[in-house]
């Protein structure tokens, strides 16, 4: 991370800002999709329904 930070520090301030925003936005979206999936998973019963005819 430090290496990446240092590399970015060498870029122009405008490019640094744009990259930081793009990266943060992408990270947020990825975590949102993961959260969305987790919400789906935790709503499912832990054991499947077993049908018994009677």
């Amino acid at each position: 991370m430090k290496l990446l930070d240092d590399a970015i520090a060498g870029l122009s301030p405008a490019l640094q800002k744009a990259l930081a925003h793009a990266g943060s936005l992408a990270l947020g979206i990825i975590l949102a999709v993961l959260l969305h999936y987790v919400l789906y998973r935790i709503g499912l019963p832990s054991k499947p329904f077993i049908y018994v005819a009677f």
Partner: protein, 410 residues
Amino acid sequence: MSELPPGSPPRRSPLFRPGTFVLGLVVGLLLCSLVARHVSSRSYHEGFTRFYLGISPEAQYYPTLDEMKGIVRSGCRPDQTLVIVGGNSIFNGVGQPAGKVWTEELQSQLGDGYFVVNFAFRGALCTDGGAVVAEALRNEFPRQIYVANTSPFGAIAPYGTEPYRYLFWEALSRGELEAFPARDAAVSDYRRIFMSWGERFNAGARESLDRILRFRDLWNWVGFNYLFTIQNPMTPHLPEAMAPRSQIPDTETDFDTIPFEERFRPEIRDAEMKIVRGFSQLFYAEGPGHAWVLSPKKAKDYEEDVRMAFPDDLKARTLIMLSRNSPLYLDQLSPSERSRDNQAYRDAIGLWQKAGYQAAEYGTGYDVLDFGDRTHLTSAGGQKLARTVADLVRSLAEKRGYTAHTSPSP
């Protein structure tokens, strides 16, 4: 880079912007919700016949309300009368393989003026699955008939039964059900008596979140079309376990391929006879002249259950079919028991009709070979059922004014 002096604020990574990150979270959730709404607005179940084992709660696949509404929207034209089939495994077509399901025959009997969709589930009540979808679509498809099966004096809960009750909660939380004071009171009692405050909170939070975020809709669509991620007993081994559910075929057993002796094994006959007798034994007493009389308490309770099952304005378009048992077992009843069984069917039909529903029975006069077991039908039995239901549906559609191109009431 040197260490920061003590007391100075922590150094901010030039790569991370908390505000933009939060914005990303919100945008991501919003995108998921929008995609879910879009994909479930139309059917992704190509050539849908029924919810077979691979796409049912037995396989950890829980069809959503919007997914089911999408199936109807994609199939039913505005000029057709919508026929939604609900009920249990008998109406789902257990024992009838794809291509020989009784609802396919019903569609063929009714013809192009009708669109038949089978939303019956194994072990469901007549108020489950299809009933919820039918009510949710009452205004969008007012030319509509709901058909479901039940047994005389069997369980009826206005909020359905597990594991299908989630559909009722889903519709209720989205305001897709009618206000119906009798049912609302029963739901309120159920929540108070059978759910702890923690369960009520969890259920409420889950439904509220799903109403906004639609996570069930999105991940069902992903699981059906691309990648299924839930371990389940129907496809326990990789790679089939993760295959999209669209690739899991309907492999319903065909009763006609199982020898008669295996379907009606002698060792289960006693247990089956107990069930057959149980249809009427508990609620009837012999009255004057050997007539069988229904217990007043049971009559009152059942009448109340029937009254609460569906909102008043939807009762008249609801056709309840009472399922008879196989003659293989009925013929073993004594004449007195047979008379009691017949009386139970007459009384139950009478109570449904008195409450404003259409009601009839099926199975009388069916052959032993029309049944695959005590209660489920073979393909031949399914064809007979389809003919009976088709006649009743046509007659009800005419009575409701669906055949004339007027504006029908739901």
